[in-house]
Each structure stands twice: as C-alpha cells, then as structure tokens.
C-alpha cells in the first residue's frame, strides 16, 4: 500500500477534483504544470533561497529537555513557530506565490482560519507586489485580531465571511466564489492540504521540507534519521502532511495526528473530523467530513481557529482509514493546559493549534527511549487574548 497520491489525484479512495466547470481551466492549468514547475531548477533555487533567507529555514529541531523530563521520553519540537510570520503556513505560500508568478497570475486570493495562512499569503503578495484578498470568517476575525491587523499592515484586503459557521469553512466557500468570478488572472492560494487535486499534493510537497529537515537534524541529535513517532495537529492537515511526508512509506515511524475535540468528541461541539466524519465531498475533494445524514456539512467547533474545520485533507482521510496514522482527539481544555505547560517549562508560547498536539503527552505514554518529534506548527502570539481570557491572567 502507498500513502502517497496516485496519478489520478487520489490517496486511496480519497481526493480527486470535485469542482464546478467554472474552476476547471484554473485547476487543470495547475494540475498540468505544478510538478513540472516545481522541478525546474530555477524554481527550486528561488524557493530554497526564500525559505532560507526570508523564512529563516531550517527551523530548529529543539530537544525540549524539561518537557522530556516531565513525560519521561525524548521530545523534540520542530520549531515552525520560528518561521517568518510565525507558523508553517509560509512554506506553502512561498511555493504557491512562485507558482502563481510562473503561471502569469496577477491577483491572489486566500481563505484563512487562524489568520496564519492569511498573513503568510499577504506577506508573499507584498514580497512579490501582487494584489491580495483574504477571506476570513467573521468569528475568526474577532478571535484572531492580531493577524487581521497584520494582514492590513501588509496591504491585503480582508473580507469577512458571514455565512454558515462564520469560520474557516465559510471563508473557503467565499474564496472559491471569488475564484469562480475571476477565472483568468487570479490564483487561489489554498492554505492546507485540502481542496481539489492538485492542491493537496502541491501543498504537501511544499510543506515536505519539514520532514526533510527532521531527517538530517535528527541525525545530528540522535545519530539516526527516523524518529519513533511524529506528532502533529490536524486542521486541514498541512503541517502534519509536511512533518509526515518523508516518513509516510516507512511504517517503522509511527504517525500521530491530533484533532480538535472542542468541548468533547461526543459533545456536538467539536472538530474531530476523522472520528466523527463520513466520506463525502468538501471544497472539491472527496474526503472525510463532518456532516448530517442528509449530506449537509456540519458546523464545527474548536477554541482554535486553525482546527475549526469540518473536513480533513484526503491524505489524512487515507491515513485514518488505512490505519497508517493514529488519530487522537484533544479537547479545548486539554489543549489550553498543554499550551500553558509549554510556556512554563520551555519558555515557548505555542499556537493553540499546536497546543492540541502537545496535549497528547497527558493521554498517551511513551517509552523513555522513544524519540518523539512534534510539529510545533506555530507560535501563540495570535492567541494571547484567548489564553489570557481563558486563564484570567
């Protein structure tokens, strides 16, 4: 069995491109070109240079001594929080903006949940001098105010999505509508491994730099290139895809994907897609999604804006269905506790998304000799208000 994409754009039974005809030319243009463009030496050179000098890669693989002591295992944090703009999202936007340039696009749109992808998109648009429109759910605009401010500073137009749950799903709908209305000069920078093929694969490849680095960095630390576990939170799944990528086919490396259980998996207010989801179509992709019996997409809930999504990328649906990855669900409270713990033990304020991944150490025991690499997908600056209110600091 392979855990990678096949030539038709599917991971097992998941994936594909379930898009309206209006999007066909754009998506098809991308599908035909993305691999070719990505393999061009000039593309590779520009991409890698920007990752190094602009994003600040490689991001460190940091041995978290006090956290490891507490949980009696070896925990390494992959520090995507140190990237320019503060999360893994920029790896992808750098790649896509270069792609968009080569496809001659002049106008960029994006959806955003936590605002990290919106900021990362606004950033690369400023860098390249391209117009940028970001769709963001009304609720997310309120709870991720610092990122809204950043997008404005960077010259992006932020448009509030007021339909549905007013979060990431609805922002994505709006972005797709915009793309339908602007079929020629606009590139849609999707922010996760979701959407129609080739997006999930393209985004995963741009993010795969993360696991590539883990391999050689682990060699420096532990004199081996494979961890025992790789742990990542999953909203759409891009940081997990990046962290898992080069280990996908090596089943000696155990993969743990962490979803947001909100107020509890069975509370009716959660975003634990794999457990609660059924196969269906969302945003152009066949995957697992939370829906009614009638096929209406359910409004998800999580304290974390970046995990508050009723679907999951098709790669992850496949990892779930095939059992290749273990899926865990973490509640708001568990995540918030783990987030504060990292502050106190390691002096790192994590994004609440990443706090979900950190929370598994209270749920699952590892062996003292296990090497556990955890994707610290982003920093918590955007979440300070939520933390402060939660803890009444």
């Amino acid at each position: 069995m392979t855990y990678n994409i096949n030539e038709k754009g599917y991971y097992g039974e998941f994936g594909g491109a379930y898009i309206p005809e209006m999007l066909y030319p754009n998506v098809e243009e991308l599908r035909q070109n993305y691999l070719k463009v990505m393999k061009e030496p000039s593309f590779q050179k520009e991409f890698n240079l920007l990752l190094k000098d602009y994003v600040g890669r490689p991001s460190p693989l940091y041995f978290a001594k006090r956290l490891s002591e507490k949980y009696n295992t070896k925990i390494y944090l992959k520090r995507e929080d140190l990237n320019h703009t503060g999360a893994h999202k920029i790896n992808n936007t750098i790649g896509q903006i270069l792609m968009a340039q080569r496809l001659g696009k002049k106008r960029i749109i994006a959806e955003t949940g936590a605002g990290q992808h919106g900021v990362a998109t606004a950033t690369v648009c400023a860098l390249m001098g391209l117009e940028c429109i970001v769709y963001m759910g009304e609720i997310d605009i309120a709870r991720q105010a610092p990122n809204v401010a950043r997008m404005k500073m960077l010259g992006a137009t932020v448009i509030s999505a007021k339909s549905g749950s007013k979060t990431l799903k609805d922002a994505t709908n709006e972005a797709i509508r915009d793309w339908i209305n602007n079929p020629v000069d606009t590139h849609y920078i999707i922010g996760s491994v979701v959407g129609p093929h080739p997006y999930p694969d393209m985004v995963a490849r741009f993010q795969s730099v993360v696991s590539k680095e883990i391999q050689w960095q682990l060699k420096e630390h532990e004199d081996k290139t494979k961890p025992d576990y790789v742990v990542a939170c999953v909203g759409g799944g891009s940081n997990a895809a990046g962290a898992f990528y080069h280990f996908l086919e090596d089943t000696e490396v155990k993969l743990i994907a962490v979803e947001a259980a909100g107020h509890g998996v069975d509370s009716g207010e959660s975003a634990a897609t794999s457990v609660l989801g059924k196969e269906g179509i969302i945003h152009g992709s066949k995957t697992l999604l939370m829906q009614t019996n009638d096929g209406q997409i359910t409004e998800p809930y999580s304290i974390s804006a970046g995990l508050d999504y009723p679907g999951v990328g098709p790669m992850h649906a496949h990892l779930y269905k095939s059992g290749r990855a273990e899926f865990m669900s973490i509640t708001d409270d568990q995540a918030m506790t783990a987030g504060l713990e990292l502050c106190k033990l390691e002096g790192i304020i994590p994004a609440i998304e990443s706090s979900h991944a950190l929370a598994i150490f209270e749920q699952k025991k590892f062996k003292p000799e296990d090497v556990v690499v955890l994707s610290l997908s982003g920093r918590g600056d955007k979440d300070l208000n939520t933390y402060i209110n939660y803890y009444k600091l």
Binding site: Y18, R177, I180, N181, K278, G280, Q291, N293, D294, G295
Partner: protein, 257 residues
C-alpha cells in the same frame, strides 16, 4: 423520449426557472412549480439546498440556508414531489451539489428521481470525467439527463467533449461567475454567445447566470435555445412571496397579465 428532449425539439425559445426547494417556506415547492408552468415557463430547475453552495452567489446561498432552516431535506423534497407528475408536464430538473446526493446514494437518488418524474440533473461539482467514468451508466439506466456546464473559459476541445457526452442541452454559463453577480450582457459575452452558436454543437445551449429581465432574456435567446433565470426569481420570491409567482415569468416573457 425524455421530456427535456421533447421540449428542446419545440420550435421556440425556452424559459427555464431555478428556485430553491423549501424557500421561502418549506411547503412552497409544489405550488411554485405549478404556478410557473401555468404562466408559460418551459422548464424548471428545482434546487436541492446545500449548506455550502460554493458555485452560488449570495441570493441563492441565502435561500438555501433558509430552506435548510425550514427543514428541507432530500427525503422531504422527494415526498413533496411524489405526485408532481399528476399536475405538471414540463421538464423538471434537480439542481444540487454532489455531497447530499452521494450521501443519499447516487443510484438510490437516480432511482427516486426517475420514480418521481424528474427528467434531469445539474450537479455543478460533479465533474464531467468523474461522471463519465463512474456514474454514466446509472444516469442512463434511469433515463436521467445529466446537464454539463461550459463557460467562456472552456476550451474548444473540451466543449466538443462535453457536447459528445451530453444528451440534452449544454448549460452555458454566460460569464465565469457565481450566480446572480451581473446583469445585462456586454460585447465580450455576446461574442462568446456567437462563438458557441457557430460551433454547431449537437446539443442545444441554454444560457444561465446574469439573466434577470425581459431584455437580458431576449438577448440571450437570440444566440441560444433558451435561458435560465435563478437569482432574479429568488429575489422576486423573497420580495413578493409565492402568491404572485406568475408575475415574474410574465414580466420576463413580456406578457400582459
């Protein structure tokens, strides 16, 4: 012969109207259909509401949301339409997104359509190739016409391909845009209409998106077999309710009432 094909064979320009099932009230579906037929509408697209209708503009989107709040479901729609063929003769098409259909089961859905007297389907997010590779036999088994869209950006080859696998009409999107976002046609669109008309496709074309009044209807049908109106009718319903449904097609067709 499928009602759609029969209708397309008539020597007239066709007016097709879209509305969202369950809007403005859950049980308006049947009377809207009946009233539309009575006032001379040639074909009806019954929208199966979806929570995330990403190819629709704000008007239809809002009507879908309301319809879902009103309690519309796939099951409920079929129940409402159970006896529709006792009173209505014009072609009826269900327009819906793929996920609710997938959850119902594609074959079960087609079977139910056929039993109900539905003549065709428009599923914007079921792409041509997926239909072709996986679902064509089912649609054919139940004598359902699946309608595909083309846009100004669709390549000539692709139009020919879509024409080749279509067996009813081609839904010609007037401009690449979600529904309800423009009004009246400019030179660019007219050129596109002419271009397609000159291709001599085997399937007639019906133009949709951006048609809202007598004028744009006349313009569109100069170059195509018919035209579909959606958002403008939904707006009419939300402003006037269902009792004056007939006013709308009358105004489009410029009939005196």
């Amino acid at each position: 012969m499928n009602r759609i094909n029969k209708k397309l064979n008539e020597n007239k320009k066709l007016l097709s109207i879209y509305f969202t099932a369950g809007y403005p009230n859950l049980d308006d579906t049947v009377s809207i259909i009946q009233n539309l037929e009575k006032s001379g509408v040639d074909m009806i697209e019954i929208g199966l509401p979806f929570s995330d209708p990403l190819a629709d503009g704000p008007t239809i989107q809002a009507s879908s949301t309301q319809a879902l709040i009103n309690g519309m479901t796939t099951e409920a729609l079929f129940k409402q339409l159970k006896d529709i063929r006792k009173t209505v003769n014009i072609p009826l098409i269900i327009m819906g997104y793929f996920n609710p259909i997938l959850q119902y089961g594609v074959e079960a859905f087609c079977k139910k359509c056929s039993e109900t007297g539905i003549d065709g389907l428009i599923i914007p997010d079921l792409p041509v190739n997926v239909y072709n590779e996986q679902y064509k036999p089912i649609f054919e088994k139940y004598d359902l016409i699946n309608v595909f869209l083309i846009t100004p950006q669709t390549s000539i080859e692709r139009i020919h391909f879509i024409d080749s696998i279509s067996n009813g009409f081609i839904y010609m999107v007037s401009s690449a845009s979600v529904t309800g976002s423009s009004s009246g046609f400019g030179e660019e669109q007219i050129n596109y209409f002419k271009r397609i008309a000159n291709m001599n496709l085997k399937n007639p074309q019906i133009i949709g998106f951006g048609i809202s009044d007598h004028n744009s209807f006349t313009q569109a049908t100069t170059y195509a077999k018919g035209a579909i109106i959606g958002s403008a009718f939904i707006k009419h319903l939300s402003n006037n309710g269902v009792k004056d449904t007939a006013d709308f097609p009358n105004a489009i067709l410029n009939q005196l009432t």
